[in-house]
């Protein structure tokens, strides 16, 4: 995959030793960090996340090879912190579908749809019963 044109620097412009810095001066991800790089074009199918069905087991978060599950830290009834899934980082999701496979709810809260499918459409047509395992 080629470097985006705007990042192709001349020989006298980059840090010596091919050193990359993860963060900028303000502590934010720097332009050297792959967080600022998109692999969305690897995908032919995408996972769609259905918040209404999700039980926040976080299996998708732990199993995602591309760190794509966006979580929100909340405090549960017993006063313990826990992560709630709030969405998918589509810049970095490669559409492997591991998340769908590990999703344990009877009707999965994650399903694969064609890349061109509108998410709202997908959610509107969510299956009522779990499909048979393939």
């Amino acid at each position: 995959m080629a470097t985006p044109t705007e990042r192709l620097e001349n020989w006298d412009e980059f840090e010596i030793g091919a050193v990359l810095k993860s963060f900028d001066e303000n502590g934010n991800y720097s332009r050297d960090h792959s967080k600022t790089y998109k692999v969305a074009d690897w995908r032919v199918e995408k996972p769609v996340f259905n918040r209404d069905i999700c039980i926040d087991c976080d299996m998708c978060w732990v199993a995602c090879p591309d760190s794509c599950f966006i979580v929100e830290e909340v405090v549960n009834k017993r006063g313990k912190k826990q992560a709630n899934i709030v969405g998918i980082d589509y810049d970095h999701c490669k559409g492997c579908a591991v998340c769908v496979e590990v999703c344990p709810t009877p009707i999965k809260s994650l399903l694969m749809f064609p890349e061109f499918e509108d998410n709202n459409n997908a959610l509107a047509n969510w299956p009522k019963k779990e499909k048979k395992d393939k």
Binding site: N10, W11, I16, G17, A18, V19, L20, F23, D32
Partner: protein, 409 residues
């Protein structure tokens, strides 16, 4: 805190002892090393200085030279002063990592005691290992006696760590002829030496946890060229810093070093170019040649990389004939030093006759008389105004004369 080591103003040290004291005085943070003759005493001494509290650092005695240089890279990228030593086969095993160290711009200092490469195995001095690291992107400084082994090693830290350089440096000395030959060395006291080298200046240290850095990235074809070009420029620009450091060193010690050292070159008509201990032996031969009416001089590049192209040509601009002496078998061409010198004089439009000599392989003795023979060859070429001796000859080789490109063949 390290204890002060009491030194006399004049010590009788061999090159290894000299280099190890320079490492101690630079208060190296990490030495990762593996023993190999003839450089072993350098790191062995360092470990005993450590055992006696004369230096405060970590000595990592690894399981191979490959890991020695790898640990040096890890330690240097972590952000401190790093040194090691090696020779010959150990150097060969390190070569892969030498390129990594320079590519990451890590100012590691390695004291190399030059030794022949097998096969057949030989523990004695020649420049096979130095030449093996020629293109590895390191600065290679040449020391011709124990005093220089000490001086060059102290200077090496200052050159390597300079913010305009940030490249690894080797200091080279001939195996046994320098490393195991005790001569008078005038060391600096510990405090003065450390002050000269200075505190280590970090650049992108891995141990700065608030600013994580990635070392050793993968560059595709759209990047690799730019990175290598930039690294090359740092090496090409480094003579400015080398000269600056030498000037500071002269101010401190009175000992003067130049990018190209020379002897009797003011009015020389013929010159030997050599690196290592034979530079000094050849100086005696030059003096004797002059008694016989040959206007002889001797030249030595102080740094093999960066090669002082311009200064070499300048030093040789008035000579008629040059002999480049390579302490290495070039295996299929003329010697590396020969080609460097030929390239340098050619680049500046000079047309001295240049021939190459192979000498001293595996520690083979090379005497004043041998150098004198070379001067006689040079005088013949100078007088004829053209090359009348073979392009490549071997010095002190048993058997019928071995030479290549004889005139008229």
């Amino acid at each position: 805190m390290a204890e002060k080591y009491e030194l006399k103003t004049k010590e009788v040290w061999d090159g290894n002892t000299a280099a190890s004291h320079a490492l101690r005085q630079a208060q190296v943070d990490v030495v990762a090393a593996y023993p190999i003759t003839p450089s072993t005493p350098i790191v062995q001494n360092y470990s005993s200085y450590l055992a006696d509290g004369y230096v405060d650092g970590e000595f990592v005695m690894v399981e191979s030279e490959h890991s020695a240089m790898s640990a040096c890279v890890g330690a240097s990228a972590a952000g401190g002063r790093v040194a090691t030593a090696t020779s010959s086969q150990g150097y060969a095993l390190m070569v892969e990592v030498l390129y990594q160290a320079s590519g990451m711009r890590l100012p590691i200092v390695m004291t190399v005691v030059n030794r022949a490469l097998a096969s057949p195995l030989n523990i004695h001095g020649d420049h096979g290992d130095l030449y093996l690291g020629r293109d590895a992107g390191w600065i290679h400084l040449i020391a011709n006696n124990p005093q220089e082994a000490y001086d060059m090693t102290l200077c090496a830290f200052k050159i390597a760590e300079d913010e305009d350089v940030r490249l690894p440096v080797t200091t080279n000395q001939d195996g046994f002829l320098v490393s195991h030959t005790a001569q008078i060395v005038e060391p600096l006291d510990d405090e003065t030496a450390y002050k000269f080298v200075g505190d280590y200046k970090q650049k992108n240290p891995m141990l700065d946890f608030d600013h994580p850095v990635t070392y050793g990235a993968q560059t595709e074809e759209e990047w690799h060229f730019e990175h290598k070009a930039r690294q090359h420029k740092a090496l090409m620009d480094s003579p400015k810093v080398i000269e600056k450091v030498f000037a500071e060193f002269k101010e401190l010690t009175g000992r003067e070093y130049k990018l190209v050292e020379s002897h009797n070159m003011e009015d020389a008509e013929v010159a030997i170019v050599a690196m290592g201990s034979n530079y000094e032996t050849a100086k005696i031969a030059a003096d004797e040649a002059r008694k016989a009416g040959i206007k002889a001089g001797v030249v030595c590049p102080r740094s093999f990389r960066p090669f002082p192209i311009k200064e070499m040509a300048e030093t040789l601009k008035n000579v008629k004939a040059i002999a480049a002496l390579d302490r290495n078998c070039p295996m299929g061409t003329i010697g590396a030093l020969h080609n460097e010198v030929a390239g340098a004089i050619n680049a500046f439009g000079q047309n001295a006759i240049i021939t190459g000599y192979i000498y001293g392989l595996g520690g083979r003795d090379t005497t004043v008389a041998h150098n004198l023979e070379v001067f006689k060859d040079l005088a013949m070429n100078a007088e004829a105004g053209k090359r009348v001796t073979p392009l490549q000859k071997f010095i002190n080789l048993r058997g019928p004369e071995l030479s290549f490109f004889k005139v008229g063949e």
